[in-house]
């Protein structure tokens, strides 16, 4: 029973990681790629860690796996936000079929402060 659950979790986790990589290759602009790699890869790593913890059935290993998963859950959104903000400020273009860009004109180009109204 535990072996089946572990194998299933590992397969689901690697599947989600493959989906993340597929999204990073196929999506048309940087911000969609960030969305794909952050969410799906974190879920995949979490599933694989859970599967490995069930496989080893050991408190020390489970604690380490939990620590890695929690660390990824905390740091992945932070890193993605920092990277997306830096990319937007440095002028990486959005996809040409993007319908709305609510940040357009709201960043001060010098101080990088965000305003609720247009700065220009």
């Amino acid at each position: 029973m535990a072996a089946i659950l572990s194998a299933l979790l590992i397969l689901v986790g690697t599947f989600f990681m493959l989906v993340a990589a597929l999204g990073v290759v196929r999506f048309p602009d940087l911000y969609m790629r960030l969305h794909s790699s952050t969410k799906s890869a974190t879920l995949g790593v979490g599933c694989v860690m859970l599967g490995a913890a069930i496989h080893f059935n050991d408190v020390g290993f489970a604690t380490q796996a939990l620590a890695i998963t929690l660390f990824l859950l905390v740091t992945a959104p932070v890193a993605a936000h920092l990277l997306g903000r830096a990319a937007y400020l440095s002028g990486v273009p959005l996809w040409e079929h993007t319908l709305s860009d609510e940040l357009r004109g709201r960043y001060d180009q010098v101080t990088h402060d965000l305003a609720s109204t247009d700065t220009k």
């Binding site: 572990s6 194998a7 590992i10 397969l11 986790g13 690697t14 599947f15 990681m17 493959l18 993340a20 990589a21 597929l22 990073v24 290759v25 940087l30 790629r33 960030l34 790699s37 890869a41 974190t42 995949g44 790593v45 694989v48 860690m49 599967g51 490995a52 496989h55 080893f56 050991d58 020390g60 290993f61 380490q64 796996a65 620590a67 890695i68 660390f71 990824l72 740091t75 992945a76 932070v78 890193a79 920092l82 990277l83 903000r85 830096a86 990319a87 400020l89 440095s90 002028g91 990486v92 990088h112």
Partner: protein, 89 residues
């Protein structure tokens, strides 16, 4: 059997992430690919620990997760400061 399939799926994922790393087109795209490669490597190491029945390998995954976050934050800081102008290659 299951482990082999999982290794195959992860290899395909690593290959796809490497394609994005090579193609770009902008520096942040490459950083996204590097970040994904690090996450995939953490999963790979956990899988390798299961395959070889050696739980000690998970220490490597912890260190890799810590280092990759620092690397991404460093790159984001570098890009936000405008030290590298964005360019289409």
């Amino acid at each position: 059997m299951i482990i082999t399939i999982a290794f195959g799926l992860l290899s395909a994922a690593l290959f796809l992430a490497f394609i994005r790393l090579a193609r770009g087109p902008s520096l942040p795209d490459r950083v996204v690919a590097l970040d994904l490669l690090a996450s995939l490597s953490v999963g790979w190491i956990a899988l390798y620990a299961v395959a070889t029945n050696q739980p000690i390998f998970l220490d490597v995954a912890i260190v890799l997760a810590l280092i990759s976050f620092l690397g991404t934050v460093g790159f984001a800081y570098f890009i936000a400061k405008g030290a590298v102008p964005w360019q289409q290659s």
